[in-house]
């Protein structure tokens, strides 16, 4: 059984058909990257996977649960972490509390254990020196690394990334990508929406090319990048690689 099973998912925003029948599976521990032109429905699909967005038809199963039949939404979401383009750190909490808060509130870990886990993860992302800092004093790259520490402190089974480096100044992109690289090989399933072509080629087990609400092409990085079959994939890759 795949950890994520997406079958013929469709979604409209009012009159706009954003997902037009998307299907694919993700296996446990896989790193899957979704690429494609702007407006193609990548974020929408990703947000459907943790129920931030609903879909109109088709079916999505995540960790064995049909998303339309989830009884305990909060405990489901603890298993599916998300890292956002805009970081979305809790502005009224310092770095450490950003990473502790949900552990104690949602997972009911005791304070000491939560703190220990948060510190470990902040160390992993290289932010252990900033535990008392508030988000508005950090750079974009630092904020994103804290956001990643916050997400992995919940020990999720799946981690979703929606353009984690798109809001960063160029010189900060690499530090965040390196942190994401360091998460691979930990049995963690990751789905990454990104325009960092070299990065996704490097890190992914599978590439999904989404365009205009459908999966236009999917395959290994090698298949997609060296030998794309779909005309739209070719056009897209020519554009991004030239940039």
């Amino acid at each position: 059984m795949s950890i994520i099973e997406i079958k013929d998912v469709k979604k409209n925003f009012h009159n706009l058909e954003v997902l037009k029948g998307v299907s694919f599976n993700v296996e446990k521990g896989e790193v899957v990257s979704i690429i494609g032109p702007s407006g193609g429905g990548k974020s929408t699909l990703l947000r459907c996977l943790n129920c931030l967005e609903t879909y109109d038809s088709g079916s999505i199963k995540v960790i064995g649960e049909d998303l339309k039949e989830i009884k305990d939404m909060n405990s489901f979401r603890q298993k599916v972490g998300m890292v956002f383009q805009q970081f979305n750190l809790f502005a009224n909490m310092n770095v450490l509390n950003n990473c502790i808060f949900a552990q104690t509130k949602a997972l009911k870990r005791n304070k000491d254990e939560a703190k220990k886990i948060a510190l470990e993860n902040l160390q992993k992302v290289g932010m252990e020196k900033f535990i008392n800092a508030y988000p508005n004093t950090l750079s974009g790259g630092q904020k994103q690394r804290v956001a990643i520490a916050r997400a992995i402190s919940m020990n999720p089974e799946i981690l979703l990334f929606d353009e984690p480096t798109s809001a960063l100044d160029p010189e900060m992109v690499e530090e965040v990508l390196n942190v994401i690289r360091s998460l691979v090989n930990k049995g963690l399933t990751m789905i990454i929406v990104s325009h960092e072509i070299d990065f996704v080629r490097d890190i992914s087990d599978k590439i999904i090319f989404m365009d205009d609400g459908i999966v236009a092409e999917s395959g290994s990085p090698k298949e997609i990048f060296t030998n794309p079959k779909n005309e739209r994939t070719k056009v897209f890759l020519r554009k991004v690689i030239r940039n």
Binding site: R77, L89, K105, A106
Partner: protein
């Protein structure tokens, strides 16, 4: 102006009235005006937070009731609300054990309506992304509201809420009209026996000014603390 100066410096009778009445006015200030303000403001904050969250969260029916409440309160004069509650409601069988309690409730509901609008605006200013991030780490809506959104909203609303508090200190003088023996009520009584309106109204004004100034100072200190906390 010079006349006025002479009047104060030369007339020992005026000085005596001034000094005698000072404590007579200050004591109801400390025992009535301030408790009235504090209790009413505290209740107002509870009402405001509840109303703001109901409207922010778009809870059916309750939302409409809250909107109606804010509409009524903001659309009618405070003095009319006081009279309506104190003299009008008893005709409907709602009686007050003391005018003080009536005043507390009227001020609480009045300020609660205004403050709820302030807080609602600040709730909207907290980024939607933080709410989503809260969901993504498995927190419930109430946990997110209570621990993430509301603290930020109250911080943002703090200066306006303090304005409301300072306004309320002064507005409590209206309660003299429904026989609450607060500072202004007492001042008016003293004026009727001494016939010194200029001196006494000036005196009570100074005491209101003193109270408001203290509150402004408190506001500045707390604001600095709040800003330091989030690294501003």
């Amino acid at each position: 102006m010079i006349n006025c100066f002479k009047m104060f410096s030369m007339d020992s009778r005026l000085l005596e009235i001034f000094l005698n009445s000072f404590t007579r006015i200050l004591i109801p200030g400390l025992l009535v005006t301030i408790p009235l303000t504090i209790v009413a403001f505290f209740l107002a904050m509870i009402i405001a937070v509840v109303v703001a969250i109901i409207r922010f969260a778009n809870i059916k029916i309750l939302k409409d009731i809250c909107r109606f409440y804010v509409w009524i309160i903001r659309g009618t004069p405070l003095l009319v609300q006081l009279f309506f509650a104190y003299y009008g409601l008893p005709k409907l069988g709602i009686t007050w054990t003391s005018p003080f309690i009536c005043a507390v409730l009227v001020f609480a509901f009045n300020e609660g309506a205004y403050a709820s609008e302030t807080i609602r605006g600040s709730l909207n200013s907290v980024s939607e992304g933080q709410i989503e991030a809260g969901y993504c780490v498995g927190m419930s809506y109430l946990q997110i509201m209570w621990r993430i959104v509301l603290p930020q909203a109250l911080r943002a609303a703090f200066p306006s809420l303090m304005n409301g508090l300072i306004g309320m200190v002064k507005d409590t003088s209206l309660a003299s009209n429904i026989t609450v023996t607060e500072m202004f009520f007492v001042t008016r009584t003293i004026v009727t026996t001494t016939y010194e309106p200029l001196l006494l109204y000036l005196e009570v004004a100074l005491i209101y000014l003193l109270f408001s100034s203290i509150l402004s100072k408190v506001q500045t200190v707390i604001e600095k603390k709040l800003n330091a906390q989030v690294g501003k």
